[in-house]
C-alpha cells in the first residue's frame, strides 16, 4: 500500500483505500483501477493524493520486510525489557505490524529486500 500524490498517479494503479470527497462520502471505491479520465477528474476535484496497492513508486527508501520491521521494534525496546507494561506494548506493536503485513504485503512474493 502506498500513498501517491495525484500528480504522480498513473493509469493502472489500483486503489487500496476509497477516495473520500468533501462531505465524507466516497468518490471511488477501493479496488478501482485508475484511468486517465478518472485521474483528471480527481485532480479537478482537488483530491491531493490516493492510496494504491503495492508500491508502484520508488521512494528511494528500501522496503522492509515484516521481519526487519519487527527486529527494529525489538531493538528500540531494549532498554525497557522486563517492564510488564512495556512488554505488553511491544507485543501489541509487533502483532500490529504482522497483521498489517499479512493483509497488505509491502513486497510481492519473491521480491525480497536485500538483507
Amino acid at each position: 500500500m502506498q500513498k501517491v500524490p495525484i500528480t504522480l498517479a498513473s493509469p493502472g494503479m489500483v486503489l487500496a483505500k476509497p477516495v473520500m470527497g468533501d462531505k465524507g462520502l466516497p468518490l471511488c471505491a477501493e479496488g478501482t483501477a485508475l484511468t486517465e479520465k478518472l485521474i483528471d477528474r480527481l485532480r479537478a476535484m482537488n483530491v491531493p493524493s490516493v492510496t494504491v496497492r503495492g508500491r508502484p513508486l520508488e521512494s528511494g527508501a528500501p522496503v522492509k520486510t515484516a521481519d526487519q520491521r519487527v527486529r527494529e521494534i525489538e531493538e528500540r525496546f531494549a532498554r525497557v525489557k522486563g517492564d510488564p507494561l512495556m512488554d505488553k506494548i511491544l507485543d501489541a506493536a509487533v502483532t500490529a505490524v504482522r497483521q498489517e503485513e499479512a493483509e497488505n504485503p509491502a513486497l510481492e512474493d519473491g521480491e525480497g529486500a536485500p538483507s
Binding site: 500500500m1 500513498k3 500524490p5 473520500m20 470527497g21 468533501d22 462531505k23 465524507g24 462520502l25 482537488n46 491531493p48 492510496t51 527494529e72 521494534i73 528500540r76 525496546f77 531494549a78 532498554r79 525497557v80 517492564d83 507494561l85 512495556m86 505488553k88 506494548i89 511491544l90 501489541a92 506493536a93 502483532t95 500490529a96 505490524v97 497483521q99 498489517e100
Partner: protein, 276 residues
C-alpha cells in the same frame, strides 16, 4: 542554583527568541478576546496566503480526523474552535524551523499528534483535537535549544551519540534543565493557554500534573508509543518507560492495544509525506 534560576540564566542567554510572524501574534491575541467571531479570525488568517495554506493542510491531515476535506479557513475555525486554531497557527510557524533543520523531530511530533488523537478518541476524551495539538508542540523546547543555543545543542547530540544516553539526560547535564522546562517557558512567553503549556511541561512527568491530567497522560503515552515504530527522532532512538500510573489514570487497559497500534500505523501512512 535552583531550577528557576537555571531557567532564568538560560533564557537570558537566548538572544534571538524565534519570532512569530506579526500575523500569528495578531491571531493569538485576537482569539483571547471574549467577543471575537469566527469570521474575524478567519479573515485575519486568510490575509496571509502562506499561513492559510499551511492551516488547511494541517486541519486536513488525519490527526484531526475529519472525514471530509475542509476547504475554507472559516469552516476550519468553526469546526476546530479558537484554541485549536491558535495551536495550529503556532505549529505552522514553529515547524517551519523544524522542517528545514530538524526533520526527525518534525516527524516525531506529527507521529505523536496522530497517536494522541487516536488514543483520545479511543478513550472518548473530550476535545481530542486540542490534545493532538499539545502533542504536536510537546517538544517545542528542543526547537528553541537548537535555534537559540546551537553550541549546547551540538554538545547534547554528541553526548547522546558517544555515550548512548537519553537526550533528556544529556540536556540536563549540559543545560541543567530539560526541554520540557524550556518548552514551558517558551509556550508561556508566546501566550499559549494552560491546556497546551501543562502537557508541554509535564510530558515526561505526568504524575506531577494537578490540572489537565488526562491530556498530560495521553501526550506522555503517545510520545513513547510512537517511538516503537521508529517514526522520526525525538533525539535518541530508544523507547522509554511509560509511567504505569499515567496508563491506569486514563484507563488505557479499556482499549484494544493491537487495534490502537494498527490505527496509529495507518494514520502514519497517510502523513508519510506531509509537509506544511
Amino acid at each position: 542554583m535552583s531550577r528557576a534560576e537555571k531557567i532564568k540564566s538560560i533564557t537570558k542567554r537566548i538572544q534571538g527568541l524565534p519570532t512569530l510572524p506579526p500575523v500569528v501574534r495578531k491571531i493569538t491575541a485576537l482569539v483571547e478576546s471574549p467577543d471575537v467571531t469566527a469570521q474575524e479570525v478567519g479573515k485575519l488568517i486568510s490575509s496571509d496566503q502562506v499561513l492559510s495554506a499551511k492551516v488547511l493542510k494541517l486541519v486536513n491531515s488525519p490527526f484531526y480526523g475529519f472525514p471530509g476535506r475542509i476547504s475554507s479557513i472559516s469552516h476550519a475555525v468553526i469546526l476546530l474552535g479558537f484554541n485549536v486554531i491558535k495551536g495550529v497557527v503556532l505549529s505552522a510557524s514553529v515547524f517551519e524551523i523544524m522542517e528545514t533543520s530538524m526533520v526527525g523531530l518534525w516527524a516525531h511530533s506529527l507521529g505523536s499528534a496522530i497517536a494522541s488523537g487516536t488514543i483520545a478518541r479511543a478513550l472518548g476524551l473530550s476535545e481530542p483535537e486540542e490534545i493532538s495539538t499539545a502533542a504536536l508542540l510537546h517538544d517545542i523546547g528542543k526547537v528553541l535549544v537548537r535555534v537559540s543555543l546551537p553550541a549546547e545543542y551540538n554538545r547534547i547530540a554528541r553526548i547522546v551519540e558517544a555515550e548512548g544516553r537519553s537526550f533528556r539526560d544529556a540536556e540536563t547535564e549540559v543545560l541543567g534543565v530539560d526541554h520540557a522546562e524550556i518548552g514551558l517557558w517558551l509556550s508561556r512567553e508566546w501566550g499559549m493557554p494552560e491546556r497546551l503549556t501543562v502537557p508541554i511541561s509535564l510530558h515526561h512527568e505526568p504524575e506531577a500534573a494537578t490540572k489537565f491530567k488526562d491530556r498530560v497522560a495521553v501526550v506522555h503515552i503517545a510520545d513513547t508509543l510512537i517511538r516503537a515504530f521508529g517514526v522520526g527522532s525525538g533525539g535518541d532512538p530508544w523507547v522509554g518507560r511509560i509511567r504505569p500510573a499515567a496508563w491506569d489514570a486514563i484507563g488505557m487497559d479499556r482499549i484494544d492495544l493491537v487495534g490502537l497500534m494498527r490505527e496509529i500505523l495507518s494514520g502514519l501512512e497517510e502523513v508519510e509525506n506531509l509537509q506544511l
